[in-house]
């Protein structure tokens, strides 16, 4: 399953990539069900309804939807990180992990769920913008490495800073 999360105009995106449609192999996550409500830090997706967010706004299944063999993130670079919507996809998907702690490579992380096949995603991130500063690149690079570490020890992929999504993202 290829999962694509983006913050672009959904119609423009589909016109630019006409071969990409939601199917058994592809899932495109965009803000098409109205404004996505923010995570409220209730931990319901951990201790009440594990893997399901309790906010019923059409985005409550992010813990299962934001997962796949290959994850593509396409985000405007905002102050050295993801844009509001893309970050909210991360926030609303914390139920995909567990609340429990473990020490990995000397640092605290959340314990992942059982991963019998020991499979981890390819996590490719494309940050777009016309004037991304060096500090923003530094902060985003650190964030990307931290995200990968949190997604699991075998997570691979690359981070790219780009100007033109429609010319530079290989979808």
């Amino acid at each position: 399953m290829k999962v694509i999360v983006h913050d672009l105009d959904p119609e423009v995106f589909l016109k630019a990539f006409p071969g990409l449609k939601n199917s058994e192999d592809v899932r495109i996550i965009t803000e098409t069900h109205g404004t996505m409500k923010k995570c409220i830090g209730c931990f319901g997706c951990w201790v009440k309804t594990p893997m399901h967010c309790i906010i019923q706004d059409g985005y409550n299944e992010m813990p299962t939807q934001f997962a796949g063999d290959e994850i593509f993130i396409i985000s405007r670079c905002v102050y050295g990180g993801y844009s509001r919507f893309v970050k909210n996809v991360f926030d609303r998907s914390i139920g995909s992990g567990t609340p429990f702690f473990e020490i990995r490579n000397g640092e605290l992380k959340h314990v992942g769920r059982e991963n019998k096949d020991n499979r981890f995603p390819i996590f490719n991130v494309y940050m777009y913008g016309d004037a991304i500063t060096d500090r923003e690149k530094e902060m985003m690079t650190g964030l990307y490495i931290a995200n990968k570490a949190n997604m699991g020890p075998g997570t691979t992929g690359e981070l790219h800073f780009i100007r033109d999504v429609y010319k530079e993202v290989p979808l």
Binding site: C39, P50, Y79
Partner: protein
């Protein structure tokens, strides 16, 4: 001297961020007036910008800022560019996280610094508080570094000074912290009729 405390926790009450704001407000005392704002309500920007110092106080969400704080920063940025303020307040940030290592907040503090640079306000310093939500439950002997870090941060805030970001962690072993943190979830699970196995192997 006016301080704007901008609350970045989405919780309406009982958050560690609101507790930190209360404690900083008490510590500021007669040294200035504290105005409290909520990032979930992007309004009263004129009041925010009437302050001499802006302090963003938030929890770490997935290695970074909670999404609504990003929205708030962008709206405040647009307001500043449309209505250039008379003064450029100094920018500070306080981030707490459930993990042990305060330094895991560094990319989020860096985003506030990037925001300050984008709007042309002077960035001063941030503090990342490891074991944040657990701090009120730790004995004083396990909070020595944290308390020192917070005192140092407050001193910098009161004197409009800056420096390298400050990162704190509790004086207990990581192993003990993991044990304590994990045990902390059991009562919540039991209250909802769940077991650890339900969390580890949920029904999809």
């Amino acid at each position: 001297m006016k301080f704007a405390m901008i609350m970045g926790s989405p919780k309406p009450k009982g958050s560690m961020s609101s507790r930190l704001i209360e404690e900083m407000t008490t510590a500021i005392g007669n040294s200035g007036k504290v105005l409290i704002f909520n990032a979930a309500k992007p309004e009263r920007f004129n009041e925010v910008l009437s302050c001499d110092r802006l302090v963003f106080v938030y929890p770490l969400y997935f290695d970074s800022l909670p999404s609504h704080v990003i929205a708030y920063l962008e709206q405040l940025d647009a307001f500043i560019k449309a209505h250039p303020p008379e003064k450029n307040p100094s920018v500070y940030a306080v981030c707490n996280l459930g993990f042990y290592e305060g330094y895991q907040t560094r990319w989020s503090l860096g985003r506030i610094q990037c925001w300050a640079e984008a709007v042309g306000f002077p960035w001063k310093v941030g503090i990342g508080l490891g074991a944040g939500p657990f701090l009120p439950h730790l004995p004083p002997v396990a909070r020595i570094k944290t308390d020192k870090g917070r005192e140092q941060f407050l001193m910098l805030l009161l004197s409009d000074a800056g420096g390298d970001n400050i990162y704190t962690e509790p004086e207990i072993t990581k192993e003990m912290f993991v044990e304590m943190g994990n045990a902390n979830w059991i009562p919540s699970l039991e209250a909802n009729g769940l077991t650890v196995d339900d969390v580890m192997h949920p029904k999809k």
